[in-house]
């Protein structure tokens, strides 16, 4: 099962286990997971903290802060802000830390550097 955008023979002969074991791929994997996992945990905790407060701390959430604006509304709007902020953060992280290394590995695979049949083509196909 692959993607129809690829030429059928391009990936068939690639030794993916070899790619997976390379230091660079491990680095890419680490960079990806060390960002998305903590971030996913953080925003889920923050969201459920908000839901729990709205559910069980109605008095606190109803505290007026400014005019008719109460704590609940501010925390709710902060959920929007944090969602937008995490989105922006992830995009800039991917552009800087993930995309370049992913593109490098991709070019090497497509340049047959990891050919199963052992006919290693040196250099990166561009």
């Amino acid at each position: 099962m692959g993607n129809d955008a690829q030429t059928p023979d391009a990936a068939a002969s690639v030794d993916f286990e070899e790619v997976q074991s390379t230091e660079r791929f491990q680095e890419l994997r680490k960079r990806h997971r060390s960002f998305v996992f903590p971030m996913a945990v953080a925003f889920l905790l923050w969201y459920f903290a908000y839901v729990l407060l709205a559910d069980y701390a109605v008095g606190f959430m109803s505290t007026k802060v400014w005019g008719n604006i109460n704590v609940g509304l501010i925390l709710g709007l902060l959920q929007f802000v944090s969602t937008f902020a995490i989105t922006g953060w992830y995009v800039s992280y991917s552009n800087r830390r993930l995309d370049p290394i992913a593109a490098e590995i991709r070019h090497e695979i497509e340049g047959h550097e990891f050919d199963k049949n052992g006919n290693i083509v040196s250099g990166v196909a561009k």
Binding site: M1, G2, N3, D4, A5, Q6, T7, A10, A11, V14, F16, E17, V19, Q20, F25, L28, R29, H32, R33, V36, M39, A40, F43, L44, Y47, F48, Y50, V51, L52, A54, D55, Y56, V58, M61, S62, W66, G67, N68, I69, N70, G72, L73, G76, Q79, F80, T83, F84, I86, T87, Y90, V91, S94, D99, A102, A103, I105, R106, H107, I109, E110
Partner: protein, 538 residues
């Protein structure tokens, strides 16, 4: 005073029927021309299911917003805020935050490993047959519940917008909506469907934006005065505080937790949303799509906050509840209050377009899943060529369309909110654990996937069947009977952890190991986009 003014409102509403129909007709005509033009080069399976992967991230992001912001979002949330105040707002937050799951954990990796459907990814490194069948069944279940809710919603919407209150008239409108949807999907495939969604998203967001500015202008762009006016009209300061709807009992508080869990974990596992990621050429464009949709959806939900409290202040909760269409009529009534028949006509047409676009997206997803996962991979065991597969998909579109029409007519007037909640809960329980495990857990096996998917799907449906939405309460589907053994309306808080647990248990108890080469291939592909991006790089 308010009562008299609004009594006139509702009566006037019916006189705008012709205008509403005219504006809606215009939308249909314009989109049909675009769909016809877009369908000219629909040749291959990739064209039909994935729009030839030709859309840009921003186009697809707009289409995702168009697919996601259903009539339930627009009419339902505005109405919920207008009537229940703050608790309505909490829906929008769940619907938005959920997109971070899609952005961080699912969208790009899925784009890199799959082809057309969710099952492509789930069965990538596991045994094709059992996993594909399970994924297809849960896809069809989610699409069917969602579709039924939209079609039934169309019926009740019509009673307000077109002033058609008799059952036969509403059935006729459901047939018209269904027939139009079948035409769009048959002719236009994914490309046509995408354009309908893009146009609809723009109309919806612009329309809601104009109304938002209008409401804010009335209150001198001061949110605090708007909230104050909402309190004055409602005569109840609690509309600004949480708990009006869900704070009544301990059970209802737990129910809200359950709903929150289903919303936040369900979105990234909705098959019709996942399928949209295949319409872009690269993972980077998939990422851009999600970023666009997060901004558009976030903006839209901020609008609904103003619109909801605006309707509470300017129209009043009592009038809204008394109008035909009930809570759902808040946004149209507010439009009428602000801009008279013309704005009402526009907003009504947008609401129709919304239903049309969402049902089209659901139908093509269900048809693709049947043709690609069940017919091509299981029934004909991979021997069917792409042409036959697309032919099967087109026939499936007609079958699903007819089923949706009949289901919509049958479910018209029923309590439909549970169908949407069920769709999210099923998606979160049946699909998300397997998506996450197969992308991130090397050891995950076929048995884990099958246990998790059937366990999640089954427990969600069984719990709903024994919940107060089906029996035992005045608002139930079957108010006369009482077999509500499960106290919550949403099964998520039980079925989602259960599905994660089953996925883990099925895997550790599985004596068979999966192919490590396939796991390596999936991981490398998902992170680097090898193969999937070739066409662009060279």
């Amino acid at each position: 005073m308010i009562g008299i003014a609004t009594a006139v409102d509702v009566a006037d509403l019916k006189e705008t029927t012709l205008l509403n129909m005219g504006i809606f007709g215009l939308f249909v005509a314009v989109t049909m021309v675009i769909v016809l033009r877009a369908s000219r080069n629909n040749k291959t399976a990739a064209d039909y299911y994935a729009a030839g992967r030709s859309f840009t991230g921003s186009q697809n992001g707009t289409a995702i917003a168009g697919d996601y912001l259903s009539a339930a979002s627009f009419l339902g949330i505005t109405g919920a805020i207008a009537v229940n105040g703050y608790d309505g707002f909490m829906y929008s937050i769940g619907f938005l935050v959920a997109w971070l799951v899609a952005l961080l954990l699912v969208a790009e990796l899925l784009r890199n490993t799959g082809k057309f459907t969710m099952a492509d990814v789930l069965s990538f490194r596991l045994k094709q047959r059992p996993v594909r069948i399970a994924a297809a069944i849960s896809t069809l279940a989610v699409c069917f519940f969602y579709l039924l809710a939209q079609m039934a919603g169309a019926g009740s919407l019509i009673s307000l917008l077109l002033g058609i209150s008799d059952w036969g008239g509403q059935a006729l409108v459901i047939i018209v909506v269904g027939a139009l949807m079948i035409m769009y999907v048959l002719i236009g495939g994914m490309k046509g469907t995408t354009w309908v969604q893009i146009i609809k998203a723009i109309l919806l967001i612009v329309g809601a934006g104009v109304m938002t500015l209008w409401v804010l202008a009335i209150y001198g762009f001061n949110l605090s005065s708007l909230l104050g006016a909402a309190v004055d009209t409602a005569g109840n300061p609690a509309v600004l505080n949480p708990g009006l709807q869900y704070g009544k009992t301990e059970t209802s508080k737990l129910d809200f937790m359950s709903l929150g869990l289903a919303l936040v974990l369900g979105t990234a596992a909705l098959p019709h949303v996942l399928m949209r990621f295949y319409t872009v050429p690269t993972a980077k464009e998939a990422r851009k799509s999600v970023v666009w949709s997060i901004w558009l959806i976030g903006l839209f939900y901020l609008f609904t906050l103003v619109l909801g409290y605006g309707a509470a202040a300017l129209v009043g909760a009592e009038t809204i509840k008394g109008a035909p269409g009930g809570v759902n009529s808040a946004a149209p009534l507010l439009a009428f209050h602000l801009g008279g028949p013309l704005l009402l006509g526009f907003i009504s047409a947008v609401a129709f377009a919304t239903i049309l676009a969402v049902v089209a997206g659901l139908t093509i997803t269900a048809a693709a899943s049947f043709a690609h996962d069940i017919y091509a991979s299981v029934i004909s065991k991979g021997k069917a060529d792409a042409d036959t597969e697309v032919k099967v998909a087109r026939r499936t579109v007609v079958v699903i369309g007819v089923m949706a029409i009949l289901g919509g007519i049958f479910a018209n007037g029923q309590n439909v909110a549970f169908l949407v909640a069920l769709a999210f809960a099923v998606a979160a329980s049946a699909n998300l654990p397997t998506i996450v495990y197969s992308l991130f857990w090397r050891r995950f096996t076929t048995q884990g996937a099958v246990w998790s998917m059937y366990g999640g799907l089954g427990s969600a449906i069984i719990l709903i069947a024994f919940s107060p939405v089906v029996s035992g309460a005045t608002t139930s589907m079957i108010p006369g009977a009482n077999f509500a053994l499960f106290p919550l309306s949403n099964p998520g808080i039980v079925s989602i952890p259960l599905a994660f647990l089953l996925g883990w248990l099925g895997t550790v108890l599985d004596k068979k190991r999966e192919d490590t080469a396939k796991q390596a291939e999936m991981e490398v592909r998902s992170l680097t986009g090898v193969g999937a991006e070739k066409a662009v790089d060279h």
